[in-house]
Symmetry: C2
Subunit: 186 residues, 2 copies
């Protein structure tokens, strides 16, 4: 978290992560090239390896950042499950590069300590939003409800990103998500 330009070529680690976000938005996470990132940052092709080990290492760092951001996003809307769901979809669409790396275990190291911690924070934010839901007297099955809420938000976001949804859904993800998610929130 140092913000000073240091060492030979500046804050390379940070520069590479930023370049990775850009590149992923352009070509997707699978087509990401470490050598391209090095070129964007103005360093040699082997420089990234020094900071991240390999490609999976870089994407693991990115995924951890992403879960951290998502956790913060969800916490802000925590008292309103519908809005939390909308925020989830909005996160997926506006921070697409993060989202795609986060949910592709073959791209990163899922057992990385920092990643696990960040993912845990995001999961906790999600579950606390569901637990705060009024149950209307009926006994709540928080596990099941959380899973259902997560599934519908995640599914809508994924389908949106995949371009799989029909045109009639429109081009405003927040609005479309709110309509669909409200079907669950009774």
């Amino acid at each position: 978290m140092t913000d000073s330009r240091a060492y030979h070529h500046g804050d390379l680690r940070r520069a590479l992560l930023a370049a990775a976000l850009e590149a992923i938005e352009e070509v997707g996470p699978a087509a990401l090239s470490l050598r391209d990132l090095a070129r964007r940052a103005g360093v040699s092709h082997a420089a990234p390896a020094h900071h991240f080990g390999d490609k999976a290492g870089l994407l693991t760092a990115l995924a951890a950042q992403g879960f951290d951001l998502l956790a913060r996003t969800l916490t802000e809307a925590d008292d309103d499950l519908l809005e939390a769901g909308v925020a989830y979809v909005d996160f997926a669409v506006t921070r697409r590069a993060y989202f795609e790396v986060m949910f592709r275990p073959e791209l990163h190291r899922a057992d990385d300590a920092e990643l696990v911690a960040a993912r845990g924070r995001a999961g906790a934010a999600l579950r606390s939003g569901v637990a705060a839901l009024p149950t209307g007297g009926a006994p709540a099955d928080t596990d099941r409800d959380a899973l259902a809420a997560w599934s519908i938000a995640h599914g809508f976001a994924t389908l949106w990103l995949a371009g799989a949804l029909p045109d009639r859904v429109g081009d405003n993800p927040r609005e479309a998500a709110r309509a669909v998610l409200s079907r669950l929130a009774t």
Copy 2:
């Protein structure tokens, strides 16, 4: 649908698609190598190009096959939306290679005629299942309901495949899906 070994090396096109399914199960669609498929089929590295043009061409054919299979699967359970949802999740888990290619537009050519047709059939099967749902007197918003049903099933399937679900969900996807999907089917 010819089943006879024909031509120089047999039914290469079919053999390559089968090899691709295997390989994707093993290493994922992104790490798929055409040269590896050629090796598995016992042909030279350039043989696949003749049948599919390039990698995207092969995956497009695979995606079309997948949508066709999915359409048939959904049609079989068409009178029961919950069972159709369970079948959707089951398809994703048991025919994972198809599913992953189908919903990754960067891997295939989304405007391929055969793909578009097959995807249309799957979409129609989904919507007809929702339209057949009893509305309980209230005016149905089929579009929204179909989207919600699709989203929750797709989201659960995607999270399952990503290994993102907590352990307590268990290891039986059909059972777990039924519990979660029933939350929507009121």
